[in-house]
Symmetry: C2
Subunit: 337 residues, 2 copies
Amino acid sequence: MVTITDVAGQAGVSVKTVSRVMNNYEHISVKTRQKVEAAMRELGYAPKSMARALNMSSSAGIGILYGDPSSGYQARLNHALLKQCVGAERFLSVEYFDEKNPDWIGQAEAFLDRTKVDDLILVPPMCDSSELHDLFRSRQVNFVLLSPSSSIAGASAITIDDRLASRQLTENLIGFGHQRIAHISGRPDHVATLLRRQGFEEAMLRAGLVVPQTYIEEGRFRFANAAIAANKLLSLPERPTAIFAANDEMAAATIMVANQKGLRVPEDLSVVGFDDSLFAQTTWPALTTVAQPFEAMAKAALDLLRSPIGNVETKSQTLILEHQIIDRDSVAHAPVD
Amino acid sequence: MVTITDVAGQAGVSVKTVSRVMNNYEHISVKTRQKVEAAMRELGYAPKSMARALNMSSSAGIGILYGDPSSGYQARLNHALLKQCVGAERFLSVEYFDEKNPDWIGQAEAFLDRTKVDDLILVPPMCDSSELHDLFRSRQVNFVLLSPSSSIAGASAITIDDRLASRQLTENLIGFGHQRIAHISGRPDHVATLLRRQGFEEAMLRAGLVVPQTYIEEGRFRFANAAIAANKLLSLPERPTAIFAANDEMAAATIMVANQKGLRVPEDLSVVGFDDSLFAQTTWPALTTVAQPFEAMAKAALDLLRSPIGNVETKSQTLILEHQIIDRDSVAHAPVD
DNA sequence: TTGTATGCGTTATCAG
DNA sequence: CTGATAACGCATACAA
């Protein structure tokens, strides 16, 4: 096992200097830094989080409470976080948080006691519980919210602009000449649902396009519900030429229904989704959608967490990260009647 | 923060004695033990796992190295493992293992040094590297293999019977009167690919059914490749009435292609997949497939790990867990010509 | 800009 | 059966 002392020896410097390099201290000569970094590489040195945690009197762990085990969102977020953690010499304590168990506080306390993490990342729906916020504050643990419903005073949050993204996606469709655009929305109890729908309507309004009542159907973010919704939409006398589904899973359902009805995508019907999930690439044609910047979110989360909680009056910022519209093959010019 | 020293002071004994009590050592007087336990309770003492790990150079962590971040397999496995860990007072150290970085040994050593786990769970493709096995053995870390290519001497493994499952799935199809059954296989470098194909052929052989060369296409486990394969299959003069895809993703592609060609599933074409992944439930009709027993696998893995490595001659068992055929809606009686 | 000495909370050694 | 003291690997006053 190679320790910091070995590296110091190899580089011909003291352990403290090596420590400085690792924690990228300010005042250090470039030459020394390079020497140390070379030594670390040669020896294949990896700092031990345990030892480090010991004298920093806080575990290097970052806790993350997730609720929905089946969501690809979580898997991708974890992956991004994991990669960041390696670079930051930290580790992830992932915890399944049973949403159905009403005693959220109890679950959270048990988790804290067990893992001793003092940094937490909260995703929906846990990120919206003020009881949880209070608990964490009283126990002095830092936390950042990912895509919370609303910004919480005194808590940092990271999100993307769902509404803007949806508007852009819709404008994209409009740019292709579409005028009859329908929307399949998500679960009514989810903020993103509202935001995405608003973005859609905003784009339509700006373009002077009308959205008939019948052009908005609820899909609850689920494949099965969306299939029913798409069926209704595509059976309308004035059939839409494009459908914006509030997530990829529902967009996939839409494509499938279109196929069943003998409609070609994108020639007869353009479809866009949201999330850039696995579905977006495993559907044919591949889906035009919007990607959340998981890597950036993970990095931002770690950065936000790094700044110590300090005084309660601490500046708590809400970061709005840039999303990305992914153009693939599910959109084409509106068919001429 | 209350430390072992505080407890020692309160109980009027030495720190070592407290340590002994915590690790329930043999030779200790009942009276002393009670004194110490009382002190621990009064002070609300909780041992710091970090300090312990530092000294013992081993943590309560279970390491798991995963390669493919996009696989739903990993997410489901992690979830199952996580739930088991909570009950067992252990924790999971999930690590992304860059398959493309050729220095597997280096990566693994760094991980071991950093986390000090001495229990490891290996999934494909890492589970098949004998270099890795040697490393772990030399460092005295326990490991269990999940679905390895072949059983490794001196290593415990957990798997399901891919061949049997495939045979049953195929027999299921045959039971519905299908005779012209085609197969879309996986990546040629993956064992499961071979096993699943063998199971398929075995069932056909037993039923006295022939499998023309043209009825086997390679899909590489990927949606896009499978779509091409399905297209070929469904364009054959003697079109198959059923297709067994070696995983759900490819089965989903098959259904999509069928739809595009105006074929109804399952009326005109029956389709089965493998894995019971997200795709199985988000395809229409829902897929008949085989489910891996993730919960049982996780439990078995922890059990196997619990038994100490002890002597090298230790019994290393290979557990073959029961899979489950999930009957959904993608299979129907063969159409009459 | 860099090095020396000390401590973090726990377990292990080896003596009593 | 029990206790003083040295590790474990790293960070940080304090000094140079």
